[in-house]
């Protein structure tokens, strides 16, 4: 469905997007942002699910199972720690008042 040159275009545009999104970030948000981008590549979960769904031998099932487990860990863990970190910034911002 996604063919050669089109794929390259997607790749190029996504690369510029990532660069642009990050380039104006204040230093204080670098750690949460690294954590946030770590969460975003947790989308590997859908790939791992599809890979396991098509598995037809035991070996491939085992690898696929590990893949889904790891990917779920990446996505969920990435979300939990990012949210925890970012919530603190909101709290700190509110306390700033008089």
């Amino acid at each position: 469905m996604i063919d050669g040159v089109i794929a390259l275009y997607i790749f190029m545009l996504a690369a510029f997007t990532g660069y642009e999104v990050i380039s104006r970030v204040p230093v204080i948000l670098h750690t949460p942002l690294m954590s946030g981008s770590n969460f975003v590549h947790g989308i590997v979960l859908v790939g791992a699910m599809v890979a396991l769904a098509t598995a037809d031998t035991t070996l491939v099932r085992v690898i696929g199972f590990i893949g889904v487990l790891l990917a779920a860990g990446n996505a969920v863990g990435g979300y939990v720690v990012t949210e925890r970190m970012l919530k603190m910034f909101v709290l700190a911002g509110k306390k700033k008042g008089p």
Partner: protein
Amino acid sequence: MPSASTIQTLTQLSYLIAAALFILGLKRMSSPVTAVSGVRWAGVGMLLATIVTLAFMGASSLNLMLVIIAIAIGTVIAWVSGKRVAMTDMPQMIALYNGMGGGAAAAIAAVELYSGNEHNPVHLTMAAVGGFIGAVSFSGSLIAFAKLQGLITKSVRFSGQKFVNLAILLITVGFGFMVVSGVGADSGLPVVSLLFVFALILGVAMTLPIGGADMPVVISLYNALTGLAVGFEGFVLDNAAMIIAGTVVGSAGTLLTQLMAKAMNRSLGNVLFSNFGETSVAGGGAAGTQKPIEASDAGVMMAYSQKIIIVPGYGLAVAQAQHKVWELTQLLMDHGVKVRFAIHPVAGRMPGHMNVLLAEAGVPYDLISDLDEINAEFETADVALIIGANDVVNPDARTNKNSPIYGMPILNADKAKNVIVIKRGQGQGFSGIDNALFGLDQTRMLYGDAQAAVSQLIQAVKAAG
């Protein structure tokens, strides 16, 4: 049940929406005000893509059950560990979750390569490259995690290490070539397995020699690599969400890695291939002797100051002293002392690590300044209070060409009228470099755990009136 092409369209549409939510989410995460909503937007995207995939992937009931069990186990483990981990241990948790992502990308590649259903040479190449990068990121991140967690305390270094690593890299690439081209397919060698084994070894071998002080850069690099691996596997699976999300993280992560390396005035190659720390004996040696001070005296000095700049470092994180520091700050401000926090870009184990901790304690942003904003102000400060920071205030970086950190921008704490350093012992810091600041005439050392020392300071300031 809708037709196959409808399902295909629905799935692709949900991936498109997910990808858009990821980009918008990252964008919102780049401002403190919208940051929490940013990660939630991205979370909605992830949930949408996962549910649609689960509903429409058309797995046999056995495979479907396996998928659900695997997700359940992974979710529970990550949820519990993510909720429990202390803020100070965030860097290694990010490394761990990132390693899991890399491992998942490698697993997808392994499924594609072992099942042998893929014959398109472009897809085979993508699968092998993504699997290789994913496996390196997996084992490398685990080593980074182990180092930060204190499970591995030694940096393994030996002469000729670079060449050994280069050899491992070439062997891995060689097996990758065999996998893709089919050369040597009848040799009986399990080339796919060998590719993964050597990629895993490479990740370990690359990360072992890197000192703990450089770990943030390395974690960021592996984060970018995992993104790339996910992007490559996205090509193999024709999955636009993976291609876009993976590539966005790959490029954003690369930029972030460069920003971090630049903050330490080092190139990425320097971080990865130089044996940092080994040459530290050549450092100038601490001039002068370290002069201790009692907390009571330090407290009086601080209570009667006009302006104090606090420089937090990793010692503050280890001791979980952020709440006490904020208490001390409020107390001093009640005394009419002007207090500011100076954050070095690489203080702690990650850029922004200190900001996260201070935010946790409730310190408002406007008291916190970065290097460029605050450096001129040290000259007007009565006291620079260094809490568990070392290399980021080492004046050798400005003056001593033999110092391994020569050229790194530092906080000019040595320009303050008085310097109080809270430090656990007399030894060298994490990077093993002597610090000339500690021997200066105006410097006094307050030995002890950061939390205990700051508590004593609080008592002393209270006692001072």
